[in-house]
Each structure stands twice: as structure tokens, then as C-alpha cells.
Amino acid sequence: MVSRRKSVRTGAGILIVDDSLEDAQSKQGLFRGRLSTVAKTPDDVTVEDLKSADLVLIDFVLDGWLEQLAITTIANIPRDGRALAAVLRSQCDPMWPPTAFALHSARLNQLAGVFPSRPRPHVIARTNNLEWAFSKLAAENSQPFEEQVIQLAAAVAELPRSWPAGDEKRMRRTVGQLLGLEPKADWADRAWRTIDDCHPPLHEFSTATHGLAFLRWLLHQVLPFPTFLWDTRQLAARLRVTPHSLRAALNDDQKVRRALRPFRYAGVLSSFLGDRWWRSGIEGFLWQKTAAKSFAPDALRDFVVRLSASLTLLDVAQPVVVFDEYLQASDVLIDVSEAVQLMPDDWPPFADPAWASKSDVTDDEGLRSLAVRRDDAEA
């Protein structure tokens, strides 16, 4: 049952909880040689298991286990993995190192509302007091499940033994290290300002949770949105090139890779939702490379052409990334004049706006309900 048990935390480790031990062990196999893992059914989980785990991964549907329960008192019956996560979290002593809780399910849509019809893991996690919700359907995870689990467990393991509250200098150093922000980078000061604009929970919240609140902020409010970090689509929009050609160039064109490498986010969870880029670094870089005309389309185009012939230029005055009917960022970039701003519930006020195409908003009732209304005389 136990592949490698840790009495103390030495590197990232996960506890896999499933109503079927066979299924739990099968998942265990995905991480063999990469993570310390323990596989158990709910009945067998001990306090020591929780104490040793950086991440507890719980199956959402626990019917097999629930059928065997002899008790009838409803307060003693967690109906599903979400409830079990809450029970197990309550067993964690606040003095222990932090433990993250995540669901694993093929039925995440049961935890999502009717709109959008495709579940969004960060929304499910946030609304259910979880660090994350992983889908068993590969198409619903933006990155391979195993890689995401390993990154999340590793991020928890990276948190300091105690959050350096009240010591501003130490706290900045800790956060800088977690975010992989090179203090000597000439754009580091500027990056700090943009981080602060996104209101990181650096004080009470992170102290009380030993930094778990900081990871939640990254997972739920930063990485899924255009903030101080951009995804590759946002970067493509800024460079006015197609996302597809930028991804290809980042894979195949050494010159592009080398030029942009200093600005690639390399902190915790760096590939959890795909590559991310330091916005401040990119903006400073473009300002230098375009002789301070980084918003002038001609100057930007000249630079991009010099950078790589393999990048496909966009003939769009002011490109924005289009969100589709599932509220997922798409590879479609359109001019802002053809776009409508959306205001989904989860969208942080400090993030850049979410956009949908006017035609999608016209055709889709769900998107229409999220469109920002303006009291325009012509409307």
C-alpha cells in the first residue's frame, strides 16, 4: 500500500485517497520515482499520513466507501471527496507544515454551475476551499495531470518552515525566491510594484496558513489571469504575432528563446498552467529594443521581424485575446474594437480585462450575461 513513507517531510510527497485502493495504487504508479506517495482508502488515513503530506489528492466520488459505512448520523458522513477534504483539513494541526488539498474527478462539472458548461478548476477550487481540482478528463486539465500534481506538491514543499511575518526584508526575500524573481534583474523593482498591485496575501493570511494562502493566491488569482505574469497568448498579443507562431518559435528558434528567456517565469508552479512571462521584464525589453516606441506598431513590427522571420505578424491595430464560450482563453486575437469586455465573477479587479468577440457575445447567451454594460445612447 505504501510505496515510500515519510516520517518527516524530505522533498515533496502526496497522499492519494480513493474509495478503491486499487485505483489509488494505480494513480500512485503515475508518480513512481518522482514523488514520495502514499495510497489509502478514507478509513485508513492517519494523522501521521496528513502530517507527512504536502498534497492530499482525494477522489471526488466515494460511493464505494460510503456504501460500506455502518453509521447513520449525517454529521459523521462526508458525502464526497470535497467533504472528506474538509474533514481531513480539520485534522491538520496549525503547527504542522502546510498541506494542500485537491480533488481528482471525472465529474468536476457537478461542482461547477451551469455556465460555462466546461468546468474551470481554479473556480471550483476557490469556491470549495481547495487548493486545486484536477480532472480525470485530460481535455479539462490545461497541462498533464501528473505534471500539475508534482508541481503543486513541490510548491507546497518549497514554502518556508514558518512564514516570515513582521520582517519585511525576510518576507520579500522569501516571496522573491518563491516567485523566482532575480533581485539583480534591472526590472526587478518594477516587477515588485506590479506584484504589490495584485495584493498578495503576505501578512495575516500567509502567516496563519504557513504560506498556503500565498500559493492559493497564485493558483486562483494570478496564474489563470493576465496580471504581473502573462501567458504565451498575452505575450503574442503584445508582440502582435500569432500565438501559434510564437509557441513554435519558442520551441524551434534559438534566437527567440534566448531573447525571451530572462523574462520566463521560473518560480513555483511555473508550468502549472503553461508558461508564464514577467510582464515588467517584457515591457522594459520592448522599450529598449524599439527605442522607446514600444506601442508604435511600426517600431514593434521592425523589432519582431529582426527577432525572427518565423513569427507570423498580426494585421490588427490593437490585438486582445478572445475568451470563448467556456471562458477559456483562445488562440484567437482580434482588434479591441471588435471585442466586448466580460466581467466573470472570478475575474480579479487587478487583472487586465477579459474580452470576447462581439459576434460570440451576440450568439451566446451566457457570454451576453457577462458583458459589461455601458449606458451608451446607441445601445
Binding site: 518594477r190 515591457e283 506598431p297 449606458d375
Partner: protein
């Protein structure tokens, strides 16, 4: 005399508070213009480029208001129009005392022009026609006429107000592109804007503080200029060039 000096932090606050305050009066594409204004200021602040650079709202991607259905009249009886604003300020960052620190201020070094256009929506053919245009400008050392002035049209040779006749330079008390934006919205939405700015949000408080300080300095300077013992007060004001430190950090 060198150009006026402005605090970069104050201008950033001005952009942020203007973006929040004016949001419901602007077409949503305008958010990108605010983002560009902000990013350019951050670049000027942090990037060590010691030549003249532009702080600009592109003519191709101007800030655009929503349509005003005659709200430029108190009776709201006029036709439907909207306004656009573009701007170019040529500036140079002032080197901070310590080399590694971000710049606190920049100085105007040339052009400082904000262009406002008004368009009328034609319902018959769904086209829009430009029906008004003026520029609100800050002069330089050599410019004749009032240092803070407004010019009507003057961008091409067509009459009236052809380019070859750059008068009148009407006196103004509005300095920055964001202050021009408030002027534009206040003109197009007379009653609605007046009510809107009465709401005491954080953005309006910050905006008020910045504009009050700047307008007070500007009006006090103008008052000083017209307090003459001989000649014409108007001529004195017209010829006066403000000290570069007029709006600078104390």
C-alpha cells in the same frame, strides 16, 4: 526656459484615477489606452533612456467616449455624438540622484499636444463625420501666445483655421491629457458628469487632490502674471513662461 517638470508618480495616479472615474463614459477599447499610458510612464520611470521620448495616446487608437445623445446641452435635445482624444508629449526623464533608483520626474522637451475630436453618427448611412476638432497644448520656450492654450483645427490647409494661420491661441488652464479628458467628458455629458464626480470614491478623491493642487498652482501663477504696474495684463499673461518647477515635486 526649459519645459515644465511633472511627477511621474502623480501622473500614474492621475491615469489610474481617470481610468476608474471615466470608465462608464468611455468605449471599452479605451482601457487599452490607459494601460499603454501607464506602461509608458513605468518605462520612463525605470528604463535608463536619456533622450527625448514620447508619452502618447496614439491617434490610431484614441480614447473614445460613448455616444452622448445630446447631453452636451442641458436640455439633452441635441443629436448623438461621441468624442475621441489622442495626445503626444515629448519628454525626457530627469535622472534620479542615485543611478539605480527609478526616475521621479520628467520634463517636457517639445511637443505637448492633446487632440480632441467630436464625431456625429449619421444614421442614414451608418458613417461617422468629424464635426469638431481642437487641440489643448502646453507651449515651449519659443511658442508665441499663452503658454497653456487651445487651438481650433489648424492641422491642414483647409479653411477655416488653416494650418498656416495658427491663431487664435486661446488661453487655457488645462495642462495634462487626462485633464483634457475630463474637460471633454464634462462637455459631452454636462449633467451626468457633474453628478458622477460628486460620488466620493477613492478615485475621485485622488483625482480631486491632484487637479486641485495643479489648478491652484496654475491659477496662482496666472494671477501673479496679470498683477502688472504697466503695460497690459493680458499681454503680460500672454508672454509669460512658467517656471519649470511649477508642478514639480516640492
Amino acid at each position: 526656459m526649459p519645459g515644465l517638470i511633472f511627477s511621474i508618480k502623480e501622473l500614474l495616479d492621475e491615469v489610474n484615477s481617470a481610468a476608474a472615474m471615466t470608465n462608464e463614459f468611455l468605449d471599452e477599447s479605451s482601457q487599452e489606452a490607459f494601460s499603454e499610458l501607464r506602461t509608458q510612464l513605468e518605462n520612463i520611470r525605470y528604463q535608463h533612456i536619456d533622450t527625448t521620448v514620447e508619452w502618447t495616446v496614439s491617434r490610431a487608437r484614441p480614447i473614445k467616449t460613448i455616444a452622448s445623445s445630446g447631453e452636451y446641452e442641458v436640455s439633452s435635445q441635441g443629436y448623438s455624438v461621441y468624442g475621441t482624444l489622442s495626445s503626444v508629449w515629448e519628454v525626457r526623464r530627469i535622472k534620479p540622484t542615485k543611478k539605480k533608483e527609478p526616475a521621479k520626474q520628467f520634463q517636457l522637451t517639445g511637443k505637448a499636444s492633446t487632440v480632441v475630436k467630436i464625431f456625429r453618427s449619421r444614421t442614414d448611412d451608418h458613417l461617422e463625420e468629424e464635426i469638431a476638432m481642437w487641440r489643448m497644448e502646453v507651449g515651449d520656450d519659443a511658442s508665441p501666445g499663452c503658454h497653456f492654450h487651445v487651438q481650433v483645427l489648424g492641422h491642414e490647409e483647409a479653411v477655416p483655421f488653416p494650418k498656416s494661420l495658427p491663431v487664435p491661441r486661446l488661453p487655457s488652464v488645462i495642462a495634462t491629457p487626462l485633464a483634457v479628458l475630463e474637460f471633454l467628458i464634462g462637455e459631452l455629458f454636462q449633467e451626468r458628469w457633474r453628478k458622477h464626480v460628486n460620488a466620493d470614491t477613492h478615485a475621485t478623491q485622488r483625482w480631486r487632490s491632484i487637479q486641485r493642487d495643479r489648478l491652484t498652482k496654475l491659477l496662482q501663477w496666472q494671477k501673479t502674471q496679470v498683477d502688472v504696474k504697466d503695460g497690459s495684463p493680458w499681454s503680460a499673461l500672454k508672454m509669460a513662461k512658467p517656471n519649470p518647477e511649477l508642478f514639480a515635486l516640492v
